[in-house]
């Protein structure tokens, strides 16, 4: 039998079986807007429960169909183009906050719950998930975890790996497995919540997660300071890091040729904030500080925006470097871009930053390659979140090092048939 005919027969049977599981209302033919980094799926399925989801996944796995889990769809462009994309598994109906155990400072939520809805629920008891994720109105618990998206608050509260304490995952073969739990301190068994965080849904589909929470700050204050150049900005950041100030976030923002700006966020009691702000002012020396609003913290979201600025093609990349090499990194970007590309960067004191380039695709291709090589030489990395039309095959991930065979072995154990997000992750996983 002709392969295309047989695969069509399997797809038809699959679709009929899936209708049985989730009812016809929640199965539809995929539209163009459902494409994932250029790959066009054929079906969108919206399971209404963890059990339904596991059944659909198991069926797809048996049928050899590729499955792309999807939350709010805000970061579908991230990662490489999937090798195959048959079924979008939408988490939109699994969107509940399951339990906010406020007195225990934990929350469990379904993977399709948006970050904004989660934060609203938590705020009722003066708490928060201490995470400033991108596009919280649409981004979901599962999507944010799978893409390991964190912002400036990471400096104080850690990234998702430090905040997630439990996760439930549906594996390709339909196994539903939980690990971790609803207590903050727990070393029983392997820490699988960390394994699936940042795994881009290639090991399993996250259905639920449990987080540790933090109190909402009593007061907050942001101080900004425009510095002479990247060197001075870095000196200031390292001095703040080496001080005894208890800031919650610290970043350098640099919009192309403009002078770099350093932003510091303090959270705490009024008395504590006043004392610390005075100390920062004295450290800034000749540079003038301004009592900035919280808007400076949306710099990352502006850089990552999927909106074109006029007609210009653009690229967005996340970089990781050493905190003490941030000025070098800024200078590298400026040198690579000069006369060819416009750029904006925001870098946190942790050494993680985001860069946006605008201009000709070919110039970006060249700049990104050299930027990545430069970062990797220094032990860092460059991961592409958005590629311009001309260079859609540019590898999103770069070099995973000597650990790639082990990563492939893990993938093989969890998803031996390559059902989940095939080819989307590092090294072709």
């Amino acid at each position: 039998m002709d392969a295309s005919v047989s695969s069509k027969a399997i797809a038809n049977t699959f679709e009929a079986d899936v209708r049985e599981i989730v009812t016809a209302k929640y199965v539809r033919t995929a539209a163009e807007s459902d494409a994932v980094a250029g790959a066009q799926p054929s079906l969108v399925v919206e399971p209404g429960s963890e059990q339904e989801l596991a059944k659909v996944l198991k069926l797809a796995n048996s049928a050899g169909l590729a499955v792309i889990p999807r939350g709010g769809g805000t970061k579908l462009e991230w990662g490489n183009r999937p090798e195959r994309a048959d079924v979008i598994l939408s988490m939109s109906r699994l969107n509940r906050v399951i339990e906010h155990a406020w007195a225990d400072l934990t929350v469990s939520a379904e993977a399709g719950c948006t970050i904004a809805k989660l934060q609203e629920t938590l705020a009722k008891h003066g708490q928060r998930l201490a995470l400033d994720a991108l596009w919280p109105e649409r981004a979901t618990v599962g999507g944010v975890l799978s893409t390991n998206d964190s912002g400036a608050l990471r400096l104080r509260f850690g990234s998702l790996r430090d905040l997630v304490i439990g996760a439930t995952v549906a594996l390709a073969d339909g196994t539903v497995a939980s690990s971790g739990g609803k207590v903050v301190k727990n070393v029983a068994g392997y820490d699988l919540p960390k394994l699936v965080t940042g795994a881009f849904g290639t090991l399993g589909v996250m259905t639920r997660a449990i987080f540790r929470l933090h109190p909402l700050p009593r007061e907050t204050r942001t101080i900004s300071c425009v510095t002479a150049d990247a060197r001075e900005a870095q000196r200031l950041v390292l001095a703040l890091q080496n001080s005894k100030l208890a800031h919650s976030a610290l970043q350098i923002y640099c919009g192309g040729e403009a002078k770099p700006r350093v932003d510091v966020l303090f959270e705490g009691t009024e008395a504590g904030l006043t004392a610390q702000v005075e100390q920062v002012n004295s450290m800034m020396g000749s540079a003038t500080t301004t009592d900035a609003g919280k808007d400076v913290w949306s710099a990352r979201q502006a850089i990552c925006s999927a909106e074109k600025n006029g007609n210009a093609e653009f690229a967005v990349a996340k970089f990781a470097t050493l905190p003490a090499r941030m000025a070098d990194t800024f200078e590298t970007i400026a040198t690579l871009s000069v006369g060819k590309l416009r750029w904006n960067i925001v870098a946190q004191a942790t050494g993680v930053g985001w860069a946006r380039f605008e201009g000709e695709a070919s110039a970006m291709d060249c700049a990104l390659r050299e930027f990545r090589a430069n970062l990797e030489r220094g032990g860092g990395s460059l991961v592409i979140a958005h590629r311009p039309g001309g260079i859609t095959t540019f590898d999103a991930w770069g070099n995973a090092g000597d650990v790639l065979p082990l990563m492939s072995a893990v993938k093989q154990q969890f998803d031996p048939r390559g059902t989940l997000n095939p080819g989307r992750f590092v090294g072709g996983i």
Binding site: T13, K185, A275, Q276, S381
Partner: protein
């Protein structure tokens, strides 16, 4: 056979790096949990990553199981040797390789002692945050294996929070690198899985740690309550008020008596003692400490002291950190338990522990990391009395069942090891455990690295993961697999 093997191993580590005499092997027959003992076939003391790789390659070729060991202070039998296996002791790999203050990173070999990391960076006012009570003797390699916590992890996190990179020898002798000095290396967070895997996924030979700047000020408050109920209510009020202290510790009367007898910490004799430590900028700590004081008084604290000097604070902590060993002063034998509950379950669980203790006719002393719900009940018994030891073990297990029933965990920081693997199926379902073991099969398909720990029923790695169900069209011969 044995002599050829020993000769080959001796060639790798030198004559002083191989222990085979029975008398010397006894040193390694158990870790800090002494009721399990197994004599290893040999103990190896490599002094480099290359030597570890060579040893492991021999083990792989000969299918000899190996158990990595640091200082041997673990409390769950994680470093317990396995039958016919060898122990690889990392104590000679004890160099601090690099200290990088601008980036706040330190690279160490696994045998470096936890407190020595802080010792090295102290002059620049940095410290290494995870502080298990055994920190003056336990090794960083062991901390990585166990994901060790400590009193200050409420605010600062666990070992896993502070490990940024690992060099690991896998069970076939190959060398891999997880993470590094920078964050978010592309790919799976295998480091996150490795930390806390109790030596079952390989041997860490180099560890990159994050160090933390000392806070501007530290204040420790000691409050005496009539009972653990009032002390627990005070903790809940602090959390509800939006505070995140660096540490909140609780001791009950029996634990206080023992600590007093052992180190004379000058604790008030009360039903429950709460020790609250705040750190940060002076103005911040002063504002919050006033609030903590108020909360404690409101909940019935009848004596409150704030340690005024570093010396006073050290003494307060000495009593807490010596609490386990202090039990020897009030009981000939004792079992240290480690369970976790959601903080709000504390009054119920305490009441139940009290009831079970009465029923069994055995005393239970309680020491908690109250902020994160980590309980350390100490079951006191006398081995010389027939039946006492069995009753103590049964009581200790019952307490863990209470933790599970409350929605907690069977271990917060001591690990599963040999001791608690039988409890794993009570906390996790079969698919949960089977899924964890898929990781193990990817790392160590022959299961040579610390086998028989954590999982009650090891999974054969040849087993096909999950069941495969043929598609109906395939069965009917309509379609082929593509």
């Amino acid at each position: 056979m044995e002599s050829t093997l020993f000769a080959e191993l001796r060639e790798i580590v030198g004559p002083r790096g191989l222990i085979t005499s029975r008398e010397e092997l006894h040193t390694y027959e158990c870790d800090g949990l002494t009721n399990f003992r197994v004599l290893p076939r040999a103990v190896l003391l490599p002094n480099s990553t290359e030597q570890v790789q060579k040893i492991v390659r021999v083990c792989y070729r000969e299918k000899i199981p190996f158990v990595a060991r640091g200082s041997g202070t673990g409390l769950s039998g994680g470093a317990l040797p396995v039958e016919n296996g060898v122990v690889i002791s990392l104590t000679r790999m004890n160099k601090i390789l690099e200290v990088d203050f601008p980036n706040a990173r330190v690279a160490v070999e696994p045998g470096v002692i936890n407190l020595d990391v802080t010792g090295r960076v102290e002059p620049q006012e940095y410290f290494y945050a995870p502080d298990p009570s055994s920190q003056s003797i336990c090794s960083i390699g062991g901390n990585v294996a166990e994901n060790s916590g400590g009193a200050h992890c409420l605010k600062y996190g666990f070992t896993t929070t502070h490990v940024l990179g690992l060099e690991v020898v896998l069970s076939d002798g190959s060398l891999v690198h997880f993470g590094g000095k920078t964050l978010d290396a592309p790919g799976y967070d295998l480091m996150g899985v490795f930390v806390g895997s109790e030596g079952t996924l390989g041997i860490a030979t180099k560890i990159i740690l994050r160090i933390v700047k000392r806070p501007e000020c530290v204040q420790t408050l000691l409050a005496a309550f009539p009972s653990t109920n009032e002390a627990g209510a005070a903790v809940s009020d602090m959390i509800a008020a939006g505070m995140l202290p660096a540490a909140i510790e609780m001791m009950d009367n029996l634990a206080i008596q023992a600590a007093e007898a052992a180190v004379h910490a000058n604790y008030p004799n009360c039903g429950a003692l709460l020790l609250v430590e705040l750190d940060g900028p002076v103005a911040e700590v002063a504002a919050l400490m006033a609030h903590v004081d108020e909360i404690c008084r409101k909940n019935g604290a009848w004596e409150i002291r704030v340690a005024q000097s570093d010396a006073e604070r050290a003494l307060v902590w000495k009593g807490r950190k010596a609490a386990f060993a202090a039990m020897g002063r009030i009981s000939p034998n004792y079992i240290v338990q480690d369970g976790v509950i959601p903080r709000t379950a504390l009054p119920n669980v305490m009441r139940e522990i009290g009831r079970l203790s009465k029923e069994a006719g055995l005393r239970v002393a309680n020491v908690f990391h109250a902020g994160d719900g980590n309980l350390h009940p100490l079951v006191l018994y006398d081995r010389r009395i027939p039946g006492h030891e069995e009753a103590a073990e049964a009581l200790s297990s019952r307490i863990l069942e209470l933790c599970i029933a409350a929605g907690g965990s069977i271990t917060g920081e001591h690990g599963v090891g040999e001791d608690k693997k039988k409890m794993m199926p009570k906390m996790y379902s079969e698919p949960d455990l089977e899924t964890m073991q898929r990781v193990r099969c990817a790392f160590d398909p022959l299961q040579l690295s610390n086998p028989s720990k954590i999982f009650p029923r090891p999974r054969l790695c040849g087993e096909k993961p999950g069941e495969y169900v043929a598609h109906p069209l395939e069965t009917a011969g309509i379609a082929e697999r593509f």
